[in-house]
Symmetry: none
Subunit: 175 residues, 2 copies
Amino acid sequence: MDHTAEEVGRRIRALREERGLSLSALARLAGIGKATLSGLENGTRNPTLETLYAVTARLGVPLTAVLAGPADTPTVRGAAVGATLLEVFTDTDATYELYRMRVSPGAPQLSPAHHTGVTEHVTVFSGVLRAGPVDAPITAGPGEYLRWTSDVPHSYAAVGDEPVRASLLLRYPHR
Amino acid sequence: MDHTAEEVGRRIRALREERGLSLSALARLAGIGKATLSGLENGTRNPTLETLYAVTARLGVPLTAVLAGPADTPTVRGAAVGATLLEVFTDTDATYELYRMRVSPGAPQLSPAHHTGVTEHVTVFSGVLRAGPVDAPITAGPGEYLRWTSDVPHSYAAVGDEPVRASLLLRYPHR
DNA sequence: GTCCGCCGTTCCGTTTACGGAACGACACGG
DNA sequence: CCGTGTCGTTCCGTAAACGGAACGGCGGAC
């Protein structure tokens, strides 16, 4: 079994014990079998979403609280750029993806064109970022904002020695 | 089945289609059956953690990205404005707080002045937002960006009937 | 000591999520 | 026209997650 299941089990057990609940009591409250909860906490089962939800809801925590955080699965976009998806937001007009982004100093990172109409919005936390369409990049320092249409190839680069940290919002309009 | 499963399925399908992947291709890449992925996207199955992880890992997103977000625990800032803290980022120069924000139509929401040097950065997802210093608010629609220095009283208001959804970045410079 | 209650684990029959193999629909080439 | 390929869905046998019941262990009452 994956080590993920064990980690989830440990977190659930910790949350349960913080509340002074016995395994039997939590199983009864959550409406699941004791065997299920036992196996879940020990990482010997591969729980379904429904089971996990029943337990976390009764513990009063969001599902995300017992799952591995966004830090362990960086969405690597390339050698110099690492990005982690924080949230997806779907709307009638468009879908948005909000990332935390890190750009290491060194060679610029190229990114191919996306579909037409896709725009990128970056707010720089620290460092100096030079990014945008390859033929017309823009520069932004801490607290500043960049925006471009990413249906052409574009690049990201850290200016100077300091790595850049920023938030990146991708907007995909619905066709 | 729970409506949670349907929501998860929608998000996975959206992420897959953004990447231009077919259902068959993603199933093959993730090492799961097409039937499994089909049922998962349509919300007719109750996936196990292992299945979900295989899919999200191949999509390059954390598990949390496809599950119901932290929306269940809103950090209420006032009657018309609800904000959820997504991440705090501390840096040598400043501390940043990244929120997802929702502004309901109706009376503007006032916010008192913060410390000097604090700036607010808003990217609008949907709706039309009118915000900024009370004597000089700015208006922004979907995909647009607002920025102001919040060491004076400022306000947020939704223009029209539609609620506004946006990301809000607060920057607190270190003195 | 025995009895009782609850603990967490293990056993076991039922339910169901799983992947492989069909299926019909559609697009393209010969 | 008929292959050939890929699309997403449906069928179906198997593997496993499920809940209920039984288990051994432990602490308190008597």
